[in-house]
Amino acid sequence: MKNISRLLLISILITALFSGLAFASTSLKFDGSTKVLTTELKDGRTFVAGSSLKSLGLDFTLNQSTAIVKNKEVELRFTLNTNKVKVNNTDFTLDSKSYKNGQEVYLPLRFILETLGYDVKWDKGTNGIRADKQKNISYPVTIESNEIKYTVAKEPSTIVSLAPDVTETLFAIGAGDKVKGRTQYCNYPKAVSAIKEVGSMYEPNVEVVIDINPDLVIAATHYKEEILNKFKEGKLSVLAKESPKTLEEMYDYTLKIGAVVNKNYEARALVSTMKSKVETVKMYTGNVKNKPKAYYVVGTGQYGEYTAGKDTFISEIIRVAGGINVADDVTGWSYSLEKLIDNDPDIIFGPDSDYETMTTSDNYKGLKAIKNNNYKIVDRDVFSRPSPRLIDEGLKVLVEMFNKNIVNKLSF
């Protein structure tokens, strides 16, 4: 339902787009009353004039090329003519650019509202926008996974992260300085190299973690129950959750993690940017004809073919990027050489470690993608972790691969 209304909103916005830059005033149902905002429609997005923000209880100031929007709890600093924004000093990239038109500054309305904690919808009744305040997740934060409830009672000041996607998400929402321990696989962002290594996800060194004495240990999917029990025995708080398997789960998990580390605004901002990037790409790729068939290599060669089946987030972003996932006919990760040959994908993408096998073995010689030199090397980490990079980098890489002319239209 939510998706349908979002789509509706987009299609209305697209219609507006084709009628050129539209100057308008938009009605907004907000905290029980209806406001009229000065807005412009551009690139399929509603931009709100800085001067209108006061009616939403926000202060607006312009400092050269930085537009500052704030209230008591949060400060958003937009750099004009770029897609950059800082939320409480954490950097985010938007799907569109903020800009100045005459004396007026225009900022992305949906992003502002979503960061403040509103759910934004198109309201048919008033032919305007409706913003519904969402329940703030506050302490104690409860996360449930595998029928276990984990409760975080207060903001942790030190964290050991036992999964690369968790580490990346923490850094993305500005909680990177809390991370005092990480696994040897946590290699992004660069700043992690200064953080103490605690071993692998599955076999972290218990002593080292206990010695760090963090307020919270966060583990995902690949963890060993005995080790977590050991941490609990050592009086450490533990949060263990299966990693997200879909984009929707990834958004949800990001918000939860944000609440856990008291970065609600940042987490909402991140989710808002991720969602709008996905929507923007969908908008462009939606009516592309002749979508290329793509195959993602997880493993290949002697030990069999492994790829991402239809129930994975990789399959989801292939779809968003305007491709067809060849492996949508299976669930899970196991595939077969025969099926691969039978489906004959247009594009194969995978890590550089599998490039040699795929391009030199006789088995793959007949594939269209190999013949046409269409094995594209991608960063495995980006596609294996449900973290913001999946959209910021991964999605873009795929769009470029599938529909080169679309990628130029994207401003992220």
Binding site: S200, E203, E207, H222
Partner: protein, 346 residues
């Protein structure tokens, strides 16, 4: 001779004690030797009132008492059991290659554990120890199957049991592999389990296995005279008044239960059951009265030191202990084998 043996055992016990003390002092986190000694002595009855550990970091106390100590003791215990079980299997099968692998016990445990992992029972509400229980049941069922396959009437044929065990092992290993293929997500857990590890060892695990394991060890050692007789020849043993079939069955059942117990907490650790008994046969004598106790102590030392290496050799990274036992134990054993003039292999 007897006095000599006693001295040898005492020396070995001394080495075991030193190994334990040494292992407690090393680890990824540097804890001063002085503090370690204080922490340990604070737990020893008559000393506890004399040492003051109030100014030592609480996390260090936890590391010594709840991470290192249980891990070290568990490794020593598992090592003892694997070595004694190996010696016993080798005696009753009169085959130098016999160990828990051959009986299919290890593969059965791996199969059980893999099912537990694949069903996701190793996580969530069931959490603690479910994989171990599955491993134990797997080991047990496999042993029963192998035993029944090899039983002809009231007799167990040594050749049949070895063949049945090896074939069962292959079948179950294939089963584990197929589960690995279809459960890509759990690959790491399964591989880690099949390579053995003491990471995360706890007093609870020791508490669960120590009584049955100690009883089993004592029982096997008490059968050393019978084992000697069986090695000399089953007919001679019969003539000496040993009920060969009954003794073989008792040893088989006890040894299998023991290995099922330890494999379920440690995962599969190869090689200890073969290398340690043979090492002591080469060093001392094939007399089981001597061989079983020294194997128990020696197995403990060997696995304990291997595990200490496994957790310290690359700081902050755990290396599966099974790899260490093979890499370091293997060449040493080959050297002894080559050097030894009398090849008392069984």
């Amino acid at each position: 001779m007897r006095k000599n043996n006693k001295i040898k055992i005492i020396i070995l016990l001394g080495i075991l004690a030193i190994s334990i003390l040494f292992s407690i002092t090393v680890g990824a986190v540097k804890i001063p030797l002085k503090d370690t000694v204080k922490i340990i002595s604070s737990k020893i009855g008559f000393l506890s009132s004399k040492v003051d550990i109030s100014n030592i970091k609480e996390s260090n106390i936890f590391i010594v008492l709840s991470i290192r100590l249980p891990r070290i003791l568990l490794a020593a215990l598992v090592g003892s059991v694997l070595a004694v079980v190996g010696s016993s299997y080798q005696a009753i099968f009169k085959n130098p290659m016999a160990d828990p692998y051959v009986m299919g016990v290890s593969s059965g445990a791996a199969f059980g554990a893999t099912i537990g992992i694949v069903l996701g029972l190793n996580k969530g509400v069931f959490g603690f120890g479910i994989t171990s229980i599955f491993a134990f049941v797997g080991a047990l069922i496999t042993t029963i199957i192998v035993y029944n396959l090899a039983r002809v009437g009231n007799k167990i044929s040594t050749t049949s049991i070895l063949l049945a065990g090896i074939v069962m092992s292959s079948i179950l290993s294939a089963g584990v592999s197929i589960m690995m293929i279809f459960n890509h997500d759990e690959l790491a857990s399964i591989v880690s389990w099949t390579m053995g590890s003491f990471n995360g060892a706890s007093w609870k695990q020791i508490g669960v296995i120590v009584v049955p394991v100690a009883a089993g060890l004592v029982f096997l050692v008490s059968l050393s005279r019978e084992m000697n007789a069986i090695v000399m020849g089953e007919e001679d043993a019969q003539n000496m008044g040993v009920n060969v079939e009954r003794v073989k069955k008792m040893i088989l059942v006890t040894a299998s239960l023991l290995s099922a117990c330890v494999v379920s907490v440690s995962g599969i650790i190869g090689f200890v059951g073969i290398i340690v008994p043979h090492l002591f046969r080469l060093l001392f004598d094939a007399d089981h009265k001597m061989l079983l106790p020294v194997s128990a102590i020696g197995g403990g030392i060997f696995l304990l030191l291997s595990d200490t290496l496994a957790r310290t050799i690359v700081p902050g990274t755990e290396i599966p202990v099974g790899i260490i036992t093979s890499i370091f134990g293997g060449p040493f054993f080959l050297y002894l084998l080559k050097k030894s003039k009398s090849r008392k292999l069984i």
